[in-house]
């Protein structure tokens, strides 16, 4: 069965390593913070200028001057640092953030990503997404494998305006985990009960299925 949003977040959380600095985008990526594996510690970077983002505040802790990149009120952990937007993106652009997790409208087999603009609809802007995909050491994209009409979001070539070029390394969808390499999507894992055929059918871009493809494990 296709994964729930929480399960996608749980699977992404398995990509975390001890000591990682991680930037989590809005939506499913935000949920990843709830599933950090036991025994490892990661530091969350919020691009408005906070390294060491903590949970939402209690009513007593609520402070309008303490927000995250989603403009939500947050807290800072012990050992956090707060800095300017220029410093924040120096970190991001300079490759100091180990992992960025973000959503997307489309990804293609060359690692291009489209996530910020659908022509004809209102243009909201890219925020920090273009800097994040250009700067982080590792980019994991989370999204549904296909849209609500069944159209694949894993394409030969993105059709929407790009956010970044050749930057996506890994994709976690509700159906599969895939690695982008050598101009193809390499299938690594299937969601429990999802067949390779279904993944193949919902992947418009070039899919490489090499050997046995295990089901994702959620311990």
């Amino acid at each position: 069965m296709a994964l729930s949003r929480e399960q996608v977040a749980m699977r992404v959380a398995q990509e975390l390593q001890d000591g990682y600095y991680v930037n989590l985008g809005i939506g499913i990526p935000t949920l990843v913070a709830n599933y950090v594996p036991a025994g490892i510690e990661v530091m969350l970077q919020s691009e408005n200028g906070l390294l060491g983002m903590g949970p939402y505040p209690t009513d007593a802790e609520l402070d309008a001057d303490m927000i995250n990149a989603g403009k939500e009120t947050v807290t800072a952990i012990k050992g956090a640092a707060i800095f300017s937007s220029a410093e924040s993106f120096a970190m991001i652009r300079g490759g100091h953030v180990d992992l960025t997790v973000l959503g997307a409208f489309e990804v293609d087999q060359n690692g291009n990503i489209a996530s910020w603009m659908i022509p004809g609809k209102l243009i909201k802007g890219m925020g920090g997404a273009m800097d994040l995909v250009a700067g982080a050491q590792n980019i994991v994209v989370t999204m549904t494998h296909a849209d609500k009409y069944g159209n694949s979001k894993l394409l030969n070539d993105c059709t929407l305006p790009l956010t970044g070029v050749g930057c996506v390394k890994k994709i976690v969808t509700d159906l599969a985990v895939l690695e982008v390499r050598n101009g193809a999507f390499h299938l690594l894992e299937r969601a429990p009960g999802i067949s390779i055929e279904e993944i193949q059918q919902k992947t418009a871009g070039k899919l490489v299925v090499d050997g046995d493809i295990p089901e994702m494990a959620f311990s």
């Binding site: 939402y56 300017s84 802007g125 800097d131």
Partner: protein
């Protein structure tokens, strides 16, 4: 001492000299760290044809959003403008021009403007609509876009504490774009929560040295919260 006493006592004095057609750089991220009173003063002055450079354009009825009501903004340079309906309406009707700029590039363009760097290369936006019409270059195997600096006739920012020299300290994440905006204005006006005596701010803990600041005014802030999230403990 007169030369370094940058404190002004009215919003009229704070924004004196702002004229139609000027470029105003504003600090703040969403509604956090915005110079509420200075924005209100611009609305009151009715200055028009402004180019406003700010990460966001406030929301309907608050922050920079209020400058849309009387169509004071001609062009907006921002990274994200998805928070207000009036913005959308004016954009679609062609009354408002927008130049979408990646957030990190926007921050760096302000810093560069203040730091005498007229242009810099960044990988951000390469191969995307942001790079259209811009010079690109391959350096050590990666592709980069040349981005020009931004400067403004005015910069309007918010800080927590200031002394009369214009030295500033920001509070928590309300820092955001304020330090860079401060450097990039020909006239930089700061609205603060508290004015302290020289020497009260530890020199090495000053976020913005006074050399970047021309005017300081004490404000009162509503500090509206855009997305109030709390946990139950």
């Amino acid at each position: 001492m007169a030369g370094f006493n940058k404190v002004v006592h009215s919003y009229e004095d704070a924004m004196a000299g702002l004229q139609d057609g000027m470029t105003v750089i504003a600090g703040g991220f969403g509604l956090c760290g915005i110079p509420e009173g200075l924005i209100a003063q611009i609305k009151k002055m009715g200055t028009t044809d402004l180019t406003v450079v700010s990460n966001n354009c406030g929301v309907d009825g608050f922050g920079l959003g209020i400058l849309l009501e009387d169509r004071q903004i001609k062009k907006m340079v921002a990274s994200y403008v998805g928070e207000n309906a009036l913005f959308e309406k004016q954009l679609l009707s062609g009354e408002l021009e927008v130049e979408l700029t990646p957030q990190g590039t926007l921050a760096e363009k302000m810093r560069a403007g203040g730091a005498g760097i007229p242009a810099f290369f960044t990988a951000t936006g390469y191969g995307t609509p942001v790079a259209e019409g811009k010079e690109t270059r391959e350096i050590n195997g990666r592709h980069y876009v040349l981005e020009p600096a931004i400067t403004g006739d005015f910069a309007i920012i918010r800080a927590w504490k200031a002394d009369r020299y214009g030295n500033l300290v920001f509070r928590h994440t309300s820092m955001n774009f304020n330090p860079m905006a401060a450097t990039a204005g020909k006239i930089t006006v700061v609205e603060v929560e508290e004015i302290v005596e020289p020497g009260e701010l530890e020199p090495s803990q000053i976020h913005t040295p006074g050399i970047y600041v021309q005017r300081v005014i004490k404000g009162n802030f509503e500090k509206r919260i855009e997305r109030r999230m709390v946990r139950q403990d």
